[in-house]
Amino acid sequence: MAITEAPAAPAADKRNPLTAGGTRITLTIGGIAVVGLALVYLLGDREPALITQYLVSGLLLGGVYALVSLGLTLIFGVLGIVNFAQGAMLTLSMYLVYVLQSSLGLNLYVAVVLTIPLLFGFGWLVQSMLLNRLTEDASHDRPLLVTLGLSLLIVNVLLMIFGGRPKSVDAPVSGSIEILGALADTQRIIAFGGAVLVAAALTLVLRKTSMGLAIRAVAANGTGASLVGVNVRRVYAMTFGLGAASVAVAGGLITPFTTLVPTAGEQFTTLAFVIVVLGGLGSIPGALVGGVFIGVLQTVGSLYLPGSGSLILVFGIFVLILFLRPQGLFGAKQ
């Protein structure tokens, strides 16, 4: 796993970084966010109703980002793999949902549930067949290239099977509700809920199950884990599988409001990395908060920096945080 050379502080965070809540950090970010938003409302020179709409949209977009990042934070945090196939796996799960729905006529959400084990298996296979050896060598350039290749492979195989024409799925629910005068799309609210649910589920798995314990041990010291009886390769495969399974939820829940083409997931890969590093490698709450933070930053930022301008802001803040708090918002110092 990549480790910065920054000197360690003694007993910085006694809790385990994978699930640590980081109350102080949450409060700090919350505080900054509230102050920032207050400034936008007071001095932003835009209609409050419009700002509220941007805020709500940003939160919901953040939910989508968080969904995509949750799986990645496990894969990156525990296995140290810069998984460039994250976006492609997302697309894969979307097509699976599409196939399940169009061939078996399943309800969208039933299809999503069925996709979870499928992607878990896919992730398991990818890790145990392609990546295990590289993970053990602790190399970071080679897994990066393998996942890059994998991403190309998935996208193009999807292209071969489904062609490049856009597809769409039917959602059982649609429409939108109003929050403080701002419109919130129901499907996006469901996706947001999904993000919280996945985060909770992953936290539960990591905290309460013996597999979770093993994952944390492997993250802390692979050899050490094998010396206490953990089958490290299995944990690797399991972790990648869990990461992929979370991606399945993400893909399934965003399918109804995304144009389904073989490259649909790609745009999320980059931001997911930003979010994961921002939140702290391997931190579940970090991915959640980071996702929402980036979503809001990008959306509210676009009030003043339209188009790609707000993305420059996102990357700028990312680099700043890398410099000033390399362990991320929720990461314990190494």
Binding site: L134, D141, L148, L153, L159, G309, L322, P326
Partner: protein
């Protein structure tokens, strides 16, 4: 107490006497001389692929200096390539500056940009994946910036105007001119020569020591930041030259061509496949990867009979390429050259 037979004495360690840079220069000369004849052998239709391969090779040689010899894994070499490409296109269209001069200016600019980025990344002690992601973020920022900067024509990009006549000063020849191959070949030769020189120089040795263990190097009196930055500057400058040549050969550069993610990976893939941190790795890697997708596409266009059914499946060539990439990375852990060298040493 029982005594067992004493085992054989430990084998003496294999000697590895210094092999001076001379042999490598000689070899380089032979390789470049041999490559000189490539345009006579290749069919016209393959020449663009050969030129593209050379551009990849130059980028990979540049990337390898910083990431292979310097140990600073850059995932944002598009920044330097793009700076070179845009400098050339911009200076040419705005002021009519000769591309040869622009190459130098672009190289200097890219080195400057690289120094700034690397300085901050190193100052804040980013390493490993974090360093890679930081450079990646910078590349994204440059990408977005180039889309928003008016003087770079935003997303439109810049066209290098076509000249009616061939011109050495403006680096333009007939479409099929062999100079389009020979010029990057010479640039590649120079870049390789720089690499060989650097690898054996005092500064290069320091850089490699720092890569292996910065703390130990510093405690031996080596100015860590200085030698790291020297490495970065050279790497960025070489990559920028590749970018400038790109603009001249393709006569067009836009944000995607200059700063796109794939530009960064194009620099990395040949080096990793060939052997990261070795002198010959990037060259070998580029020679393999450059034509690979073309070869696959060619094979699929005119498939042997038993593969007939695959003809015309879109995406297949890229999928095969991706699969091969995965296989090579997994089965040649040290890259092609690195693996061969290891075999020979043992």
């Amino acid at each position: 107490m029982t005594a067992t037979d004493a085992p054989a004495a430990p084998q003496a360690p294999k000697l590895r006497p210094a092999n001076g840079a001379k042999r490598q220069y000689t070899f380089l000369l032979i390789v470049i001389a041999a490559l000189f004849f490539v345009p006579y052998i290749l069919p016209d239709s393959a020449q663009p692929v050969a030129v593209r391969t050379l551009i990849f090779a130059i980028m990979a040689v540049g990337w390898n200096l910083m990431s292979g010899f310097g140990g600073m894994f850059s995932f944002g070499h598009a920044v330097f390539f793009g700076v070179g490409a845009y400098t050339d296109a911009y200076l040419l269209t705005a002021f009519g500056v000769s591309p040869w001069l622009s190459m130098i200016i672009g190289a200097v600019l890219a080195a400057g940009v690289g120094l700034t980025i690397a300085y901050f990344c190193l100052r804040y002690k980013l390493a490993g994946s974090y360093f890679a992601l930081a450079t990646f973020a910078f590349a994204q920022m440059f990408y977005l910036l180039s889309q928003n900067l008016g003087f770079l024509n935003k997303t439109d990009g810049i066209n290098v105007p076509l000249l009616p006549e061939e011109s050495w000063a403006m680096l333009q020849f007939d479409q099929d001119s062999k100079f389009y191959f020979w010029i990057p070949l010479v640039i590649l030769g120079l870049a390789m020569a720089v690499t060989i020189y650097f690898a054996h120089s005092r500064a290069g040795q320091f850089a490699q020591a720092i890569r292996d263990d910065a703390t130990a190097a510093e405690s031996l009196g080596i100015k860590v930041m200085k030698y790291r930055l020297i490495t970065v500057a050279m790497s960025c400058a070489i990559t920028a030259v590749a970018g400038a040549y790109y603009s001249q050969y393709y006569l067009f550069v836009g944000p995607e061509q200059a700063f796109g993610i794939h530009v960064s990976t194009d620099a990395i893939i040949p080096a990793v496949i060939g052997g990261i941190g070795t002198i010959w790795g990037p060259l070998i890697g580029a020679a393999v990867v450059g034509p690979l997708s073309e070869l696959i596409a060619h094979l699929l266009r005119n498939p042997p009979e038993f593969l007939e059914f695959l003809q015309g499946t879109s995406g297949l060539d890229v999928a095969v390429y991706a699969a091969l990439l995965i296989v090579i990375v997994i089965f040649l852990p040290k890259g092609i050259y690195g693996t061969i060298r290891e075999r020979m040493r043992k």
